[in-house]
């Protein structure tokens, strides 16, 4: 049970503003769990409620099965890695790492030894006596992780810790963090607005918007089986068709749009009342010279071609002025269509998904 975190109907209000709205989720011990959402969606507030810096206005937080309502941050088995890391600049590296041990009354020699050991774990041997200001961004990152690991927390909370790093280092640190998590088997709760980060690192991802959980699932399901339009458009790209369901049978439907009627699959929880849209991933579409038989297609004109190296993004538009993207993998033989040429954009019914249209709630900013 140690290391489990359960949020049970947790809300957070700041004045009239509801930052988190009745979030219920259960995080397993040793899990790498991410909260993914745009800035201002309430994910940092969730982290601060788990660490104890924000008190929920309703609901309860349980860590390791224990309700932590009346437990102050310094008594919780959690450690938070701040977005700006919040290292202590006036202490050398090893004192930073050993601060949590100092608090616990560990002797100086033992503290020093533990700090050295952790520095090896995070791949920074020999940095013990350096000043924080002498470290690079990635090194500071490692010191922050070591400082957190030093107190042997049951749960580690990470608030976008990689956002300040450049792309190469970020990708390297992703793998590193994941490896450290597997090695230590500490529950990691990770906050990010970067879908790539969340999908690549997590065992499970919770997508949030406007203080509410939109979907909690393993990364593949978040991407392949989004629960609603918000998840579909926040995670990855989509070609979106407005329209209505003309008829439905079992899991499939006929979806009527301004550009024609398509055969489609129904997403979860679609009833007659919810406003819906049709979502098709760019990599599930293809461009053909002539309309194919037995599948969906619309006539389009090639507007622009972006060659990205490993794949090619072709931007097209139809007669009504709607823009779509077709993504083609570059296998070395892919032909790049000419700008202005008229073609057919085809997509299969199983990859055209009708989802509740939640894209409207995306617009709220921090």
């Amino acid at each position: 049970m140690k290391g489990s975190v359960e949020l049970d109907g947790v809300s957070a209000d700041f004045g009239n503003f509801r930052a988190v709205d009745k979030v219920t989720v259960s995080i397993k011990p040793g899990e790498f769990f991410s909260f993914l959402g745009p800035s201002g969606c309430g994910k940092t507030t969730i982290l601060r409620m788990i660490s104890g810096f924000v008190t929920p206005s309703e609901g309860s937080v349980r860590i390791g099965g224990q309700d932590v309502r009346n437990i102050r941050p310094n008594k919780r088995p959690t450690v938070l890695i701040f977005q700006n890391l919040a290292l202590f600049p006036l202490m050398p590296v090893w004192e930073n790492i050993a601060f949590g041990l100092e608090v616990r009354g560990v002797g100086k020699a033992a503290r020093r030894a533990k700090a050295e050991e952790l520095l090896k774990l995070v791949d920074l041997p020999g940095a013990a006596d350096k000043a924080i200001t002498q470290l690079s961004g990635g090194q500071k990152q490692r010191v922050a992780i070591a400082r957190a690991l030093a107190v042997e927390p049951a749960v580690m909370l990470l608030d976008e810790p990689l956002s300040a790093l450049d792309l190469k280092l970020r990708q390297h640190m992703r793998a590193e963090l994941r490896a450290i998590q597997k090695r230590t088997n500490v529950t990691f709760i990770y906050i990010t607005h970067d879908q790539g980060e969340a999908l690549a690192m997590s065992d499970r991802v919770a997508v949030m918007s406007q203080g509410r959980l939109q979907q909690v699932a393993v990364p593949q399901d978040i991407y392949n089986r989004p629960a609603n339009g918000f998840v579909a458009s926040f995670v990855g790209e989509n070609n979106i068709f407005a329209g209505t369901i003309e008829s439905r049978s079992g899991g499939s439907a006929l979806f009527k749009t301004g550009s024609g009627t398509f055969k489609a699959s129904l997403g979860p929880g679609i009833n007659g009342a919810t406003p819906v849209k049709l979502y098709v991933r760019p990599e599930q579409t293809r461009l053909l010279e002539a309309p194919p038989q037995g599948t969906n297609s619309i006539p389009v004109t090639v507007a622009d071609v972006a060659f990205e190296g490993n794949f090619i993004n072709i931007h097209v538009e139809n007669g009504e002025g709607h823009h779509f993207t077709v993504e083609t993998r570059n296998d070395g033989t892919a032909r790049v269509p000419l700008r202005g040429s008229t073609m057919s954009m085809a997509f299969d019914p199983e990859h055209a998904i009708v989802l509740a249209d939640e894209s409207g709630i995306q617009g709220r900013s921090a």
Partner: protein, 294 residues
């Protein structure tokens, strides 16, 4: 400089520079040089000034070292200025912490206003007000007796008590503002990070907030100490028969003995010795001058 010329033209720029130079040279530097020069010359009847006896010597400075009473007064001035400094810190630190990290942003300006209002009243009036408050049959004793906290009235104005109370009241804000600025500049995440790692409140202050606030503590302390050691007003109004302040001796030399030469020497000695004392204390607490300038 060229920016100044471009903005205001030659005439106005020249006037600014001239006025500043006048203020600095005529109103600040020249009087000091005059006093400094005089401090090395003997106090002579007007007819002998410029005569054969009017030679430079260290006699005026040595007068201080030959007088055990004056040395004693100097040390009590240093000791009680230090006491005032420590008391100001003890009062200002919690207040500065509250204002910069605890109080809601919306009420901070009002709180600062409340703190500033007493400053609008002249120092003389404020000190005199304390003279009345602290009087043997004054309101403070009356109140404490009435509340049953004390059974006999206290002689607040005996010894150095009156001076200490007066100084703390007068100079506590000079400690508060640098402290406030220093703590304000600390990233709140660092306080939370310390708590999050299990630190109790006192250790967070000791290991994270106080070290960060050190430059503020240093500049506040230097200000309060120097202002207290160099003040004449509070000691004049709130002193007792047993509390002599070094500035009072300077004043006696200058206005009662009419001996400006020895008075100047004492004034420069006070400045010099206080500077030495402050430097030593700064060395002990490992504070550099550049920290204070921040």
């Amino acid at each position: 400089m060229s920016e100044l010329l471009r903005r205001y033209g030659a005439t106005l720029s020249g006037l600014f520079v001239l006025l500043t130079a006048f203020w600095l040279l005529v109103l600040v530097i020249l009087p000091y040089i005059y006093l400094f020069e005089n401090s090395f010359r003997p106090y002579l009847p007007i007819t002998e000034v410029g005569g054969p006896k009017d030679v430079y010597s260290l006699d005026n400075y040595l007068t201080f070292f030959r007088s055990s009473i004056h040395i004693k007064v100097f040390f009590s001035t240093i000791v009680y200025s230090s006491v005032v400094t420590v008391l100001c810190f003890c009062i200002a630190y919690p207040l500065a912490y509250y204002l910069s990290k605890v109080a809601k942003n919306a009420i901070v300006p009002s709180l600062f206003l409340l703190l500033m209002i007493p400053l609008w009243v002249s120092e003389i009036l404020r000190s005199f007000a304390w003279f009345i408050i602290l009087a043997f049959k004054g309101p403070l004793n009356y109140g404490l007796l009435g509340l049953g906290i004390i059974s006999d009235p206290i002689r607040w104005l005996s010894g150095f008590r009156g001076i200490i109370i007066g100084f703390v009241y007068t100079y506590v804000l000079f400690m508060l503002f640098p402290l406030y600025n220093a703590i304000q500049s600390l990233d709140t995440n660092q306080i939370e990070a310390a708590q999050d790692l299990g630190s109790p409140w006192w250790r967070t202050h000791w290991r994270v907030i106080l070290p960060h606030a050190k430059p503020g503590i240093a500049s506040g302390s230097v200000m309060v100490f120097m202002l207290s050691a160099g003040s004449i007003l509070v000691p004049t109004l709130l002193a007792s028969t047993t509390s002599r302040w070094f500035t009072e001796i300077i004043q006696q030399w200058m206005f009662e003995s009419q001996d400006w030469n020895t008075g100047s020497a004492y004034a420069f000695l006070l400045l010099l010795l206080c500077t030495v004392f402050v430097s030593v204390v700064m060395r002990i607490f490992r504070v550099r001058l550049s920290d204070i300038a921040k």
